[in-house]
């Protein structure tokens, strides 16, 4: 009833210089879109039993979302289907007007974190094949992330190795909420395989691991989930550092996706301070925790930190390094960052270029 005459979809501002968008969420137009990539046995399984995540007998995420599919309301494709499910509309609304030279796809409803490990594995393989078929082979600006059945380290590693050398893929994708913190040994085969094939591992906010979002239980509101992602990602990062993942896999590169970066310095300071006193507990660490973080971790920008005073933003970035930030919009989700509006004035041309494009091209090996 609300919208009577819909204007042509368009970006509000067109962006002249090329950018990378390191967090784009492709969606399936229909439930059976994955069937060509899955054995018949799994079609029947899906139809009979559905999808069971660790968080209980329900489908979908455990918190409500502010907008349908947590997406921009202007992002429904004209031909139907959910937001993010149409390549031509994505080109028209995102890739062309914002001059996206590199777009990294991060499928979220992916089979990661399902209780049935065989089914999780089959879904992940299907999604990886589908990303090539529907997206990366049709638009060379787009690159895919390898989704893996996270809780089954061996199967996840096998899927990563299966994609070795395939230029359609530029990273391995995990989610932040899993059965255990991501530094634990059950996940090490993933890091070993990723290091071996030379791809960074992205950790995107969200997940289906069954634990409450916060250490003090399940909060009431979606807004608590939105800020809780940062706390969750801190746990992930502390675990990766303290379990010795970076010591064990010295070439591993991690990307923290969609959980902010303003908290990075304080986590680093806190870890370092405790490490001075408690290093005998974690003698496998050879360096200060903050050094692992600064050497091994990249950060996507959306949701871009927005302090009252821009100097504070620049101070945080100085701690992290201007070479470690990767611009992202989070299209088609509702908290989309508009590229021309997120970075305040006062940034040198070299840092600006690195922020919007250079860092991503380097990390993801795009010439």
């Amino acid at each position: 009833m609300n919208v009577q005459f819909r204007p042509e979809p368009s970006a509000s501002v067109s962006v002249k210089t090329a950018i990378a968008d390191c967090d784009i969420h492709p969606a399936r137009a229909t439930k059976d879109e994955l069937y060509p990539f899955m054995a018949k046995r799994w079609h029947a399984h899906l139809e009979t039993y559905g999808i069971q995540a660790y968080h209980g007998m329900m489908e979908g995420p455990p918190y409500p979302k502010a907008q349908p599919n947590a997406s921009r309301r202007d992002a429904w494709p004209p031909e139907g289907g959910p937001q993010g499910s149409s390549l031509s509309f994505m080109q028209k609304q995102l890739l062309d007007p914002y001059n996206v030279a590199l777009g990294v796809l991060n499928p979220l409803a992916s089979g990661q974190g399902l209780r049935n490990q065989d089914f999780a594995g089959a879904l992940c393989v299907a999604i990886n094949d589908w990303q090539i078929e529907k997206w990366t082979s049709k638009d060379t600006r787009l690159k895919a992330s390898i989704v893996v059945p996270t809780e089954d380290g061996a199967a996840a590693a096998a899927e990563i190795r299966r994609r070795a050398g395939d230029k359609n893929f530029v990273q391995v994708l995990l989610l932040s909420r899993n059965v255990e913190p991501l530094g634990q040994r059950r996940y090490w085969p993933i890091y070993e395989a990723a290091q071996e094939i030379g791809l960074p591992v992205g950790v995107h906010a969200f997940g289906f691991g069954g634990n409450p979002l916060t250490p003090s239980g399940w909060p009431s509101f979606y807004i608590e989930e939105m800020v809780g992602h940062a706390q969750c990602q801190q746990t992930v990062l502390a675990s990766l550092v303290l379990e010795g993942v970076f010591e064990r896999y010295p070439k591993l590169k991690m990307v923290m996706i969609e959980a902010g970066f303003g908290w990075a310095p304080s986590l680093g300071w806190r870890l370092d301070k405790n490490f001075e006193r408690l290093h005998s507990e974690v003698p496998h660490l050879k360096r200060k925790p903050s050094e692992y973080i600064r050497d091994h971790v990249w950060w996507t920008t959306q949701p871009m930190e927005d302090p009252e005073r821009r100097e504070h933003l620049f101070q945080v970035i100085e701690w992290i390094g201007w070479d470690k930030l990767l611009f992202a919009t989070d299209y088609p989700h509702w908290d989309f960052d508009e590229p021309s509006r997120v970075l305040p004035a006062g940034v040198s041309d070299a840092n600006r270029e690195a922020f919007y494009l250079g860092n991503a091209k380097k990390l993801y090996g795009i010439s």
Binding site: M1, N2, V3, Q4, F5, R6, P7, S10, S12, V13, A66, Q67, R72, R73, D74, W334, D335, F336, D337, E338, S340, R341
Partner: protein, 137 residues
């Protein structure tokens, strides 16, 4: 201030909105229960097409547990980050002092007045029988 004729009143019944571009500015005109309002169709936050959002009410609370829901159908919620604006005034509710959406006065005028005036008709043949929606920019 220049006045622009938007449409005959019958073309914009209650509950509908119309998008148009006037002097290169994207504008949306709303008919809310017979009253007409105009807004710049660009969100002051990050520039989304603001008027594509849903019309909602305003949830306010004097004390935790007490919720008042008023202005039903008079608040537009941006399709991107959900900032809320009063379509009567353009006032924002997230940060009223720093952000406001540009609101334009909209009136209904009889056709006879419209054809006589120095008005610019938008893509429609003006006839004198009906009333017209007119916006001041």
């Amino acid at each position: 201030m220049v006045r622009h004729v938007i449409a005959p009143v019958e073309e914009l019944p209650p509950g509908t909105r119309k998008f148009l571009t006037i002097d290169e500015r994207p504008i949306a005109i709303f008919n809310i229960k017979g009253e007409f309002f105009g807004l710049l169709n660009r969100c002051p936050h990050q520039g989304a097409a603001l008027c594509e959002g849903p019309l909602i009410g305003l949830a306010q609370s004097s004390d935790p547990g007490e919720i008042e829901y008023t202005k039903l159908g008079e608040i537009i919620r941006c399709p991107w980050h959900g900032w809320e604006f009063d379509i009567r005034t353009g006032q924002s509710y997230c940060d009223p002092r720093r952000f406001r959406a540009r609101a334009y006065p909209v009136n209904v005028e009889p056709g006879s007045a419209v054809v006589k005036g120095p008005y610019v008709a938008e893509t429609l043949a003006v006839s004198v029988e009906s009333d017209y929606v007119v916006v001041d920019l």
